[in-house]
Each structure stands twice: as C-alpha cells, then as structure tokens.
C-alpha cells in the first residue's frame, strides 16, 4: 500500500541549471500537491511526458528524496521518519540503478540478501526460485558486465526481489529494452500483482499504460490532473483511446501553466 498525501517537491536550481532551463527563478516545483493511493494487488501507472515529475514522485516514495511538503506512507511507514523500514519492504527499480559490473548475479543476489538481513537459507531458497523463474541459472556465475542487456535486466529484477518486497516501484520499466526483454519485465509485473503486491510504475508509453495498468494517474507539469481506470479516464475526457485522452488533458493543463 502506497499513500501519497499532498506531495510537493521543490528543487533548488544552481546558476547553471537556471541558464539551461531559461528561468530566472532559482526554484523549480517538480511536483505540486500530488496525492495518490496504490493498493495491493494492482498496478498503478504514472503517465506523463518527460519532465512531468514521474521520477521525482517515485524517488520520493522510495525514500531517495525527501518531500518538501506533504507525507508519503509505504506499508504504513513514513518515508522520512522510518525510511529504513520503508526500504525494507520496497523494491525500487530504474534503469539508472545498476549493479556492480564485476560481480556475478549470484554474488550480487547473496550480497543484497544479506543487506536486507535475510538468513543464508532464505537467500538460497529464494535465489533458486527466482533464478529458475527468470532463467538466470545458466549465467548466474558470469560477471554482470559480460551479460547482454536482457540478461542484465533479468538479473537486476531478480536481485531486487531478494527480500520478497510488498511494494514494487519501477521507473520506466521498459525504457530502452527490446520487445522480448520488455515482455519479460511486464510479465513479471503482472506476476507481482497476482501475488498481491503493490506495483507502481512510471511510463510515457501509452500502450504500456493501457495494457498493464489497473489504474492510471496522468501527471502534467508536476500535478496529477486525472486519476482512474482506463475506462474512467476515457469516459471523463470523452475520447476513445488513451492517447487522445492524454492530449486532451495535456492541452488543457499545459495551457493553464503557460
């Protein structure tokens, strides 16, 4: 269970960033008063263009960033006050988080298992199960840097699940992956959902959101402008597919901003 309550995140901009972003303000509101709830047994998708605040929101949920304002609770723990407890029950995956190139998937799995305070037997059992499921067995002793992109992705996912997390946070899960590897990832997300986990992902790919997500939150310029099932969104925007709905909302809210 993830509860985001009135989240606001403000970044201070350096002089260089101010020039890059052509702004005179030294503050940038990345997320504005965002509230959402993701429940166990569902996949929640944050849909939005680049720079809308998706990654910031997910990083706040994963305790990597502290909210400027508002509260987030994950599995009943506050992300600021109880960040270690939160990290115990989540798995945070993004393409920016990578594993040590010099180690094998097996070593890394055991290493993160120990960081998650799992005992050796539990680690071995889970490794057996996950490596079999993802087909990692064949290359479990190869160095991570020697693996193909698909193998790497599988290994990262397996390692992130070492502690059987209740909440899975995945930033742009299929970004940069080929169609087969992407399928692997989405299959795994569905499996998590079936196991009753809370899954939250961010994406800018409409088809992915349509197929995968039980509920979608559309985020534009840091604000959640609409939330609901695909059907609810289509009904309220009076459109026939998500892309149209998204553009409708984008035009409406981006204009407001400007």
């Amino acid at each position: 269970m993830i509860k985001v309550d009135d989240l606001t995140k403000v970044y201070k901009l350096s002089k260089k960033q101010m020039i890059e972003q052509r702004t005179k303000k030294n503050m940038k509101k990345a997320v504005k008063n965002l509230s959402l709830t993701a429940k166990p047994g569902e996949i929640y998708g944050l849909l939005g263009p680049n720079g809308a605040g998706k990654t910031t929101t997910l990083r706040c949920i994963a305790t990597l960033l502290k909210p400027t304002d508002g509260n987030i609770s994950v599995c009943g723990h506050d992300t600021v006050k109880d960040s270690e407890k939160v990290r115990e029950c989540i798995s945070f995956l993004t393409n920016e988080i990578k594993l040590d190139p010099q180690f094998s998937p097996k070593y890394l799995f055991n290493f993160f298992g120990r960081l998650h305070k799992q005992d050796e037997k539990t680690i071995n059992d889970r490794r057996e199960k996950l490596f079999n499921y993802f087909g990692i067995k064949d290359f479990e002793d190869k160095k991570y840097e020697e693996l193909s992109t698909g193998m790497k992705q599988k290994a990262s996912i397996a390692v992130s699940l070492v502690h059987d997390p209740q909440v899975v946070i995945f930033d742009e899960p299929t970004n940069g992956l080929d169609i087969i590897t992407a399928r692997n990832v989405t299959d795994y997300l569905k499996l998590m959902k079936e196991e009753g986990k809370t899954v939250i992902i961010s994406t800018h790919i409409m088809s992915e959101a349509e197929k995968l997500c039980d509920r979608i939150g559309i985020i534009i310029n840091g604000a959640l402008v609409m939330e609901g099932t695909l059907k609810e969104i289509l009904t309220s925007t009076n459109t026939s597919d998500l892309e149209d709905a998204f553009f409708e909302l984008y035009q409406l809210h981006n204009k407001e901003e400007a």
């Binding site: 945070f92 988080i97 040590d100 190139p101 010099q102 120990r114 998650h116």
Partner: protein, 408 residues
C-alpha cells in the same frame, strides 16, 4: 547496525582480490617498479663513478716549473698532459674546457720558482697556481679535485719541507689521527636519520596515492556507474555505507602502502650500493614494542584520514575526472607536509603536533629516530582522529544530500 558495513567491506575487498588486473596494478606493479627503479639508479650511479675513475683526464699546464714533470711522475698522476709556455693564448683551451673536450687548465705564475725561493719574510710576494675547470662536467670536476689533492698539495708539501727543513714545526697538533675511532653514535639514530628524511615523505605520499586511485573509483566511479544507488535503496543507514566504503578503502590503501614500504626496504641496499663509501651503511631499524604499537596506530589513523579526505572529494564530485582534479590540491598539501619534515631543524614545538597531515609526518620522523614523546604522540593522534571524525560526518551528510547523490 554494523551488518551493512561488514557486508560492504567484504564485497569491496572481494571486488579487488578477485580481479587479477587490480591485484597486479595495486600490489605487484608498485613493488616491481620500486625495486627495479632503485636498482637501476644504484647501477647507474656505480657505473658513473667507475666511469669517472677510469677516465684519463686531459690537462694543459702553462708555464710549468722546471721540476714539475718530475713531480707528476713521482705522484703517479695519470693524465694526458700538454705543456705550453707562457706566451701561448689559452682562450682556445678555455673554450674546450667549456665544451668538455679538455678537463683542466693549470697556469703557474711566470716566475713561480724564483718567487718561492726569494721568499724571506712576511709581505714578500707569494706566487699563485691558477686552475680553470668546468664544474658542470663530471670529468673536469674530478680532474681538478684529484690534481689539487694528489699533485699540488704534495708539491706544496715537499717545497715546505725544503724551505723549513722540519715540517713537523707546522703541525702544531693532530686532529683525529684515526678518525674511525672518534665516532660515538647511537646507531639507531644514525640509521633513523637517513630513513627519517625519506620515509615520512614516502609513506605520506604512498598512502595518499593509494587512497586516491582506489577512493575515486570506489565512490565517484560507483556514483557515475549508478551502482551506488542500488545500495541507497537497501534498508541500511547511510553511515553504514560510508563506514563500509572507508574501512575497506583504508584496508586496501594500507596493504598497498605496506607493499611500497617493504619494497623500499628491500630495494634500499640496491640503491645505496651506488653510493657505497659515502657514509650510508647498512640500514637496520629496530623498534621497541611501544614504538611498534605507536607506528601501527599512527599508520592506521593516517590511512583513515587520507581515505576519508579522498572520499569526501569523491562523493562531492560528479565525475571521476572532476574528482581527480579536486583531489590534487590535497595531494599537494600532503606532499608539503612530508617535505616540511626535511626543513624542520631541531625540536618541533608541541603545538605543531596539532596540525593534521604535518603532525603525522613529523611524528613518523621522530619515531624513526626514537625521539617521539608521548605528548607529541597524543596530540598527533587526537587531532588527526578529530579531523577524520569531522570528515566522516561530512561524508555521511553528503550521502544524505539529494543534491549530491541524485543531482536533484
């Protein structure tokens, strides 16, 4: 709480020790380089000295006294000598001394022997022997000093004898007829003196260099590669990650420095072979148990300080290139700390032992000389530990900073 730290240390050490390239570049290459370099230097110096000894100097002697050829024969001075008379121009010879083809020009005053024989009392003219040589040329320098010592001094001595009859009149008293029996020395301090000049400097630099190459990769490198974030989402405290990184880095730099130190001790005789006979004898270091413990504590705390300084820079930097640039000024300060031990003559004031980096260099120096007092030791350890603790705190803060870790 230390579970994370332990695991990270284990992983960092595994990373290095399972990588053949790393083992080679960190531990084996430096040893080979130092031993190779020192023995090469020793060999070159030996060769150079032998070369100078076997070289037959080329001399020009202008206006030599009648009996001088006899003197040369008597002193067995081996040289290729050309005698020229007073009228000849020496400009060409001087030019050749400058370009190194001639080693020495000796010019006697025109009425050299007459003046000597005419000498009666104080105020009478004293003739001169003038030498021209080029100190930038090893052959010329050696030819001049050998000529003065072995020919002119002997010549002068014989003339004195001729003039005075009894030369002992001049020798009012002897100083150290047997110089080797006059030396009373604490051998440890003497040996320590050579090493104490060199080792604090080398140890400081080696420790820092080790920390520098390892630290930047282990922290900035991981940040760049995105592998550090994988640890930030694990349920451990940031301080556990910091300690894990720092301690493993300290262990590795320590081993690397030990390899350097052992190589130097092994290689020293090879180098010194070249300077044999210049007063550098065998080097043997003996420590009392207390000194051994002190050395150990100093080394540990120095390694930790250097590692934490490098780590602080490494965590702040966005790229390894940036980190390497920022770490250079600290490296220079560390080198200065080592160099300053050369300058410090006599006793260093106790307050100076509160200055980090400098104090460890001076303490090491005093320790090698067997002169480190407990107060100096305490001041050094205390102030270094304090700085190390502050730096560690800053690193932990940096690890907690969103701006630094995620550029957010």
């Amino acid at each position: 709480m230390m579970n994370g730290t332990q695991n990270i240390i284990k992983k960092e050490l595994t990373r290095v020790f399972t990588d053949k390239k790393m083992i080679f570049s960190l531990f084996i290459l430096p040893a080979i380089m130092i031993i190779g370099m020192y023995s090469l230097m020793g060999m070159l110096v030996t060769n150079m000295m032998e070369d100078i000894e076997t070289h037959i100097p080329r001399l020009y002697i202008q206006n030599a006294p009648a009996d001088f050829e006899e003197v040369i024969k008597l002193t067995q001075f081996d040289a290729e000598i050309t005698y020229i008379d007073a009228a000849e121009d020496t400009k060409d010879i001087k030019d050749r001394i400058l370009d190194g083809t001639v080693d020495l020009l000796v010019v006697f005053d025109s009425s050299f022997l007459d003046a000597i024989h005419a000498y009666k009392s104080a105020g009478d003219p004293i003739p001169e022997v003038k030498t021209y040589y080029n100190p930038a040329e090893d052959y010329s320098e050696a030819a001049r000093s050998n000529f003065v010592k072995n020919v002119l001094n002997v010549y002068q001595q014989s003339m004195l004898e001729e003039r005075l009859g009894n030369i002992e009149q001049l020798q009012v008293f002897f100083i150290d007829k047997d110089p080797s029996t006059s030396i009373i020395i604490d051998e440890k301090k003497a040996d320590g003196k050579i090493l104490s000049m060199l080792l604090p400097f080398l140890i400081n630099i080696m420790l820092f260099a080790g920390a520098m190459s390892l630290g930047v990769d282990a922290i900035t490198g991981e940040k760049e590669r995105g592998t550090l974030s994988s640890m930030l989402v694990a349920p451990i405290k940031r301080s556990e990650i910091v300690f894990g990184k720092l301690i493993s880095l300290a262990i590795l730099s320590g081993i690397s420095a030990a390899v350097y130190a052992i190589s130097i001790v092994v290689a020293m005789p090879l180098l010194i072979g070249g300077f044999a006979g210049e007063g550098m004898g065998d080097i043997n270091l003996r420590f009392t148990p207390v000194e051994m413990i002190q050395l150990f504590i100093i080394m540990i705390i120095v390694v930790y300080l250097y590692v934490s300084l490098v780590a602080l820079v490494a965590v702040m930097a966005k790229t390894s290139k940036e980190a390497n640039t920022y770490v250079m000024p600290i490296y220079i300060v560390v080198m200065l700390g080592g160099i300053m031990t050369y300058m410090g003559s006599g006793q260093t004031k106790l307050e100076y032992f509160l200055i980090p980096i400098y104090n460890t260099a001076v303490s090491l120096q005093n320790l090698l000389m067997g002169e480190l007092t407990l107060a100096q030791f305490g001041f050094t350890i205390g102030s270094t530990a304090l700085v190390a603790a502050i730096v560690t705190g800053l690193i932990t803060r940096a690890f907690n900073s969103e701006k630094i870790m995620f550029n957010a």
